[in-house]
Amino acid sequence: MTGTVEKDPYTTDEMMTVAASRELRDGAVCFVGIGLPSEAANLARATHAPDCFLVYESGTLGAKPNVLPLSIGDGVLAEHADSVVSVPEVFNYWLQAGRVDVGFLGAAQIDRFGNINTTVVGPYGDPKVRLPGAGGAPEIAASAKEVIVMLRHTSRAFVEDLAFVTSVGYRHGGGSRQELGYSGGGPAVIITDLGVLRPDPETKEFVLTALHPGATVEEAREATSWDLKVAGEVDSTEPPSDKELRVLRELRARTERARGTRA
């Protein structure tokens, strides 16, 4: 991320958020987590997808936060929501029942088939690093019609072998996910701060299909612990438009101001 990116008037994290937001189509029912996914989904709602229906796992349906929520229980999620339901209802009637089109997930570690670890680094019984754990992720990975994964591209995150499978992607690749009987289609895309990875239609191994401006194939390979496959033709991500950047920065600024008054 040297050279070009530094000269450009946006950060690699902004590029990642913008690229993820573009994946969300208007009208989709979208299950959102706090942090980068929430930022991307609300950017989409404020630009090309005004009618996307945001579901947060705390039970807010059709949430329309005007600032980014500080946590999943933030009142801004309930304030303009179409409905607020219990946690069992949001997981059972919405996610498990197949009413969610798109789920966003983050990851501490991910493997070549899009399986995710958010539980532990090192042995489970004697962990090197204890991570927060599953949260809503296993069921999002299981039941959302498609999943968008967002994480920064590093060799510690893109690993050959996961220490723990918290959420299932394409399992061992090929048709092995289908054997599990899940209704959801699995991870459709991994968006990083370097580029975009999509699964090979047959093997289901993730392949680098696009690079963000300034990023190189070598960088992406170095930041991946397995031997990263690269598409025959690698697309170049369209840089953030003036509108996307302006809306994203306004959203962040509004959030910062709101945090200031809350403290």
Partner: protein, 310 residues
Amino acid sequence: MGGMDIGQDESQSIVSRSQDSGVRKAGKIMSLREAVAEFVRDGDSVALEGFTHLIPSAAGHEIIRQEKKDLTLIRMTPDLIYDAMIGMGCARKLIFSWGGNPGVGSLHRFRDAIENGWPEPLEIEEHSHAGMANRYVAGASNLPFAVLRGYVGTDLPEVTSTIKPITCPFTGEELMAVLALNPDVTIIHAQQADRRGNVALWGITGIQKEAAFSAKKVIVTVEEVVEKFEARPFGIVLPSVAVNAISIEPRGAFPSYADGYYDRDNSFYEAWDPISRDRDEFRGWMERHILGVDSFADHLRSIDTEEAAR
């Protein structure tokens, strides 16, 4: 808010009036100190719920002050309150689904207990949110287990003995069963109680209803007691017969939110990171602001005073 501010002394008279009028005694108003002393025993399984909103912080502090031991702590999102209880050695076991400082980072006391066994080894039983939510539903429904589509293909069933495969007796389909949760005590924080001991909460109500109905005993802390509840969109009311004790604890969910009363104090969530990172720093802070005070109201004054001195 439309409510009335009623002090602890005045609230006691509400109970006697209720009794005079023949209203049943459930949902009895008592001090939090009495409620925790009477209903929380060493070795109990205790659920303090509130899905980042209405977190029963005052009750957690009271448990720490009364030096309860060997508890099995149950909570979907352990948050700062369980971080403090774990660090003070209240817990033998933790049942949870997501253990982080929301929006900030790690829970350091939680991590230190699991990674290094400090202050004592902590047994863990972990699920997903969906698994925990359904475990409460099963418990509240007097069923031995709940069934869900999940966990298949993950490593969670290997490490968590309360997740087992089950075959549907009608279709032969393989599903996952999770063991019901029936805490000895559930504690939640709500916005209001009325004079008859009913409890109203609104905004994001998360898993509180299921946690309350799954428990053998229920303690509720409230912001205030009001004459009559207003209708609130998406609000829920726990009838007094489902509640054992109500304690009036204004700001009792600090530093989390209480919809209609206060927002999250995000600076406290951020400040918790350095407070909890170091064992000595943590112990010192706990002694100054929790063990060394008599009530949650004193705790709030004590952290304000320290803040002002900076």
